[in-house]
């Protein structure tokens, strides 16, 4: 798997059939191609999705994500189907796929064609983590690093994102460090997601939030299953959109 630098020219189309997978989600846009058997990708913010398809014809794009029908495309698939094909590229025997996105979390049981989506509440979504990072005035990707420095893990029981933040503030007042409160928040987040996950041997985690090692560590300790994470979990749906078509 290989990421393109932001301004790297797109791969050449000369003399072969050229298709890309384009995932325009709530916060980021991702494109993936398979070139010489290798997966290559680019990531940008949702509002700059156009830079991912410069010079690419509509008929060469298979789209997915929230904006799948708003961007040029030859065909589109939902994120659920894209996740199944994308995760299957790396882990063909995966039982469960958990896609933790910016606005929702999807749990797909590939064994019996079932899926559940949590989008009524922010507590198990990337939006909640952003909310917390915002409160501490730190970048989103610092949350995972803070977690790894925690000595204790306070209980944060609230299932509502907003009230969970109130509880975190109470823990700070009570003497827990910022690192410890962030770790407690990751555990609360992981418990919320784990309640959606059925019994299974292997669970594949995908989505941008999976890059947060604190959250993954909490999920590992709660789930106690074989957890698999692709090298670049954020581009799996873009890859899956492509693979669902070609």
């Amino acid at each position: 798997m290989k990421g393109y630098a932001k301004h790297t020219p797109m791969p050449s189309k000369a003399g072969r059939r050229f298709m890309i997978g384009l995932d325009v989600g709530s916060t980021t846009a991702k494109m993936a191609v398979i070139e010489g058997g290798e997966v290559k990708y680019r990531i940008t913010s949702t509002h700059n999705w156009g830079e991912l398809v410069e010079g690419i014809d509509k008929d060469e794009i298979i789209s997915t994500g929230y904006f799948r029908n708003s961007v040029p495309h030859k065909a589109s698939v939902t994120e659920i189907t894209a996740a199944i094909y994308g995760a299957g590229h790396y882990f063909p025997d995966a039982d469960i796929i958990v896609d933790i996105g910016g606005q929702d979390t999807k749990v797909i049981d590939t064994r019996n064609n079932n899926f559940v989506i949590n989008d009524r509440c922010s507590a198990g979504t990337g939006a909640f983590l952003e909310f917390v990072a915002n409160y501490f005035s730190i970048e989103l990707d610092e949350l995972g690093k803070l977690h790894l420095r925690a000595n204790r893990i306070p209980d944060i029981n609230n299932t509502c994102g907003v009230f969970a933040l109130s509880e975190m503030i109470s823990q700070l007042v009570g003497g827990y460090s910022k690192e410890e409160v962030v770790a407690g928040m990751h555990y609360a987040f992981a418990r919320r997601i784990s309640s959606m996950i059925p019994d299974a041997d292997t669970v594949v985690l995908i989505g941008g939030t999976v890059k947060n090692e604190g959250m993954v560590s909490a999920l590992r300790s709660i789930l106690r299953r074989n957890i698999l994470i692709p090298e670049e979990p954020q581009i799996i749906n873009a890859l899956g959109a492509l693979k669902s078509y070609v």
Partner: protein, 313 residues
């Protein structure tokens, strides 16, 4: 002649209300297009009819609340309506299906409504329900659109207050040819969205079975005794095992490819989801609605993903 209008909150035998000289009015039917956001709610269905009735935004002369054997939120919200001064009666189905208990409930209902003055209306309604079952059959063969069939079948709870006019409406339905490439059953309470069947259809899912509206056309009788012996098998009021066995037969008969289980936020039927998923040997999509209006995008995403899933099988 001034026909008293009797509101009903769930399945109350409309033949009895007509036979007592009244006209039933299913208060749920105004909710999907109501644009109401009720205060102090659990389930939006009961909360909205409660609020509209307390504020007299629905014009009825009395209310019959189905409080036993189905909706427990209605038991409380119905009492709030009663306290607002609207004559209200509580109707209970037996969990064990005892026909004599149900017969006694039906006699109490006739006392609340006055008395049976037009016994011939039992047969009139029974004939109309035959037409309803014909609509249901024709929809299952792709001759009537799922959305039009639903809008007709859901009206069988109150026959739109006028069996004669309703019959003419049904007879005016024109048949066509509708592709049924993904035959889906819709189980649970009806969706609170006004365009759910259209949304499913536009995303490639054709609903060929509506569980609750099917109950509206399934039960009938020519007198109270007879009617009690049919309605005592109203599946929503009975043990889950009986309902599941009934569903298995209907789904098999209709050769469905998948099942959509619609659940309503804060409705106890949501607790049945895991059992239904386990017992019904079909791909099952569970969706949950809350407030009325058009089908939201999040639900459409689930429908579309479900269709993609069925396409892959």
């Amino acid at each position: 002649m001034n026909v008293p209008k009797t509101g009903i909150t769930a399945l109350v035998p409309p033949e009895i209300i007509f036979a007592c000289g009244g006209a039933p009015f299913d208060v749920n039917n105004v909710i999907p297009a109501s644009k109401k956001y009720p205060r102090n709610k659990l389930c939006a269905w009961t909360a909205i009819w409660k609020e509209m009735l307390v504020n007299r935004e629905i014009q009825i002369d009395s209310l019959v609340v189905v409080a036993g054997g189905d909706c427990h939120n209605a038991l409380v919200d119905g009492q709030k309506v009663a306290m607002s001064g609207l004559p209200t009666h509580f109707f209970f189905y037996p969990f064990d299906g005892d026909p004599e208990y149900l017969e006694s409930q039906m006699y109490r209902l006739t006392e609340f409504l006055g008395s049976i003055r037009y016994p011939e209306r039992f047969k009139e309604v029974r004939e109309l329900k035959k037409l309803g079952r014909m609509i249901d059959d024709r929809r299952c063969c792709g001759k009537i659109s799922p959305a039009e069939a639903f809008s007709t079948l859901i009206s069988f709870s109150d026959l739109r207050g006028d069996p004669g006019m309703f019959k003419r409406t049904i007879e005016a339905i024109r048949e066509g040819d509708f592709e049924l490439d993904n035959r889906v059953a819709l189980i649970g309470v009806p969706p609170i969205y006004q365009d759910f069947h259209e949304a499913a259809q536009s995303l490639g899912l054709q609903i060929v079975f509506d569980e609750l509206p099917y109950e509206f056309i399934r039960h009938e009788g020519t007198d109270i005794r007879d009617t009690a012996r049919s309605y005592c098998n109203y599946t929503f009021a009975r043990p889950l095992g009986l309902r599941i066995n009934f569903l298995k037969k209907e789904l098999d008969k209709r050769k469905v490819d998948g099942v959509i289980h619609y659940t309503q936020f804060a409705c106890h039927h949501m607790l049945e989801d895991e059992v239904l998923r386990k017992e019904l040997d079909y791909p099952v999509l569970t969706v949950q609605g809350d407030l009325p209006g058009s089908t939201p995008q999040q639900i459409k995403l689930r429908l579309e993903a479900f269709r993609e899933m069925l396409d892959r099988l």
